[in-house]
Symmetry: C2
Subunit: 296 residues, 2 copies
């Protein structure tokens, strides 16, 4: 076991020890599990935010942490084409003075995403961890799986990327005395918005690599959708944008469907290709860079 083993390899090791899903269910490997219920599929996802890893209390307040803990889970459910139903929250290591802020942020996200917090756990601990689990329903005739991309499909992203990374960089330089950063970039970092696929939580490069690997296709990016105020590196590897990336065989139909629904049309960024080893952005290699946790 390498001490620098990453999250993805470790999840694969865990998956092999645990029982495998019955046909028609998705368990470990996607961001969101799909299980059969008596009245259709239930989506299940969990994500933790950790002080010093996902947030820094010098840069955000506890309400932002509560918001983010719920929003990242809503994003996982949305990435499967689902609607959030209920959330459970475990808070570890919060000082008493943090409780009201955490609860306010959770309540705000809960209202924004219509996803009530119905229970959880509160524990002492040496560091602040907020772990949220969420249930969701599939309205759209089946979950959108990252393993469904086919060669020839177009790749889309629901919006320009890199705002969160640019916002974090701006907050850090503000705390060192630099001038104030664009408020919308700061907001993108402090209050990420889940949209309604795989979400670009870890960085476009790594999330596309996962989509391609799960689907057995290669990917060729023709366009990097960089947000105003962000850099190309922010867009490719910054992560935490919570825009959705997805593949679709009929690009015109996708744009028409988004428009008909009154949504901002997604940005076509590239193509799926036959060779499963292909990872390109223009003429360069698309690095699977981004936010993969290194274990300690």
């Amino acid at each position: 076991v390498s001490s620098s083993e990453g999250e993805i390899a470790a999840i694969e090791r865990i998956r092999l020890v645990l029982p495998q899903p019955p046909r028609g269910e998705i368990w470990i490997g996607d961001d969101t599990a799909v299980v059969a219920g008596p009245a259709g599929s239930l989506l299940l996802a969990a994500d933790a935010v950790v002080e010093g890893v996902h947030f820094d209390l010098d840069l955000v307040d506890t309400a932002d942490v509560g918001w983010k803990a719920l929003a990242v889970n809503v994003s996982d459910v949305a990435a499967m084409g689902g609607e959030p139903l209920h959330a459970l929250v475990t808070v570890v290591g919060a000082a008493a003075s943090m409780i009201d802020g955490l609860a306010r942020g959770l309540a705000e996200a809960s209202a924004a995403y219509r996803c009530p917090v119905v229970g959880g756990d509160l524990s002492a601990g040496p560091c602040l961890v907020v772990s949220v689990a969420i249930t969701g329903a599939c309205d759209l005739g089946g979950a959108v799986l990252r393993s469904n991309a086919r060669p020839g499909d177009s790749l889309f992203v629901t919006g320009p990327l890199g705002r969160s990374a640019a916002g974090l960089r701006g907050l850090r330089s503000e705390s060192e005395g630099a001038h104030a950063t664009q408020p919308d970039l700061v907001a993108a970092y402090r209050r990420p918005s889940a949209s309604a696929m795989i979400d670009v939580s870890d960085g476009l490069g790594i999330d596309l690599d996962r989509l391609a690997g799960a689907s057995g296709v290669g990917v060729v990016l023709e366009l990097v959708p960089v947000a105003d105020g962000a850099t190309r590196e922010d867009a490719l590897g910054g992560g935490e944008d919570y825009e959705l990336v997805f593949a679709a065989s009929d690009p015109q139909a996708v744009v028409a469907a988004f428009s008909a629904a009154g949504l901002r049309p997604p940005i076509r960024i590239g193509l799926c290709v036959e060779d499963p080893a292909t990872r390109r952005v223009g003429d360069e290699t698309l690095e699977a860079s981004g936010w993969e946790h290194r274990l300690r």
Copy 2:
């Protein structure tokens, strides 16, 4: 905000900020939430185990931690009269060398309780936290709520108490060179068994206080069910026993039902009374002592 505010007061503060449940659902306050689904009630619970708070890696191994993280959640669902369905696991701060052990313990508990782990999250972090969320089904025509006790009801517990606390004390004195402890007490600490109501996870005194408070009754204990090798204090305040305490209006019927199901008959330990302020064990005051987390 007092800096020594406890878990119960903090949960109440959180509950007041968050939206309230519709009629027929149970949200924050019970160990397990009950939400309406299209095909009946769904139980939802989450509990975290934290290094240095719920376990000490000098005394247990990582497989024990994985087991315990799942078993405590199964116990929460069982305490509502439910069966576990699926679990989500978030692991924060695990070294790469801990992954196999955690996965093995999770797999063993998952098989023992027929509760597959279907997903979760793995994150870097400064301390080891394993947070599990669980879904469950109610087979028994409705959840067994801690708020259903009525004056005159008998109080039962499904087995003698204090084994886990005695096992932990034994392990600690072994590590200081004392002679070996009874293996069954050590097993009760390292591999707690969820049984099939409120579970005595925090200590009989505090869990009875919660049951009484939620039901608006007082409680009089006539008997403290002390396990072999445990002390009266272990039984009243040690916690982590995962036996179930419940109130029932017809004690003979309860014992007959357990026997008919081939289960060890529960132990009748006392009575619910009208005065909601009463907390007695014999002639003494029943202290709400036990395992309430102090926030930092």
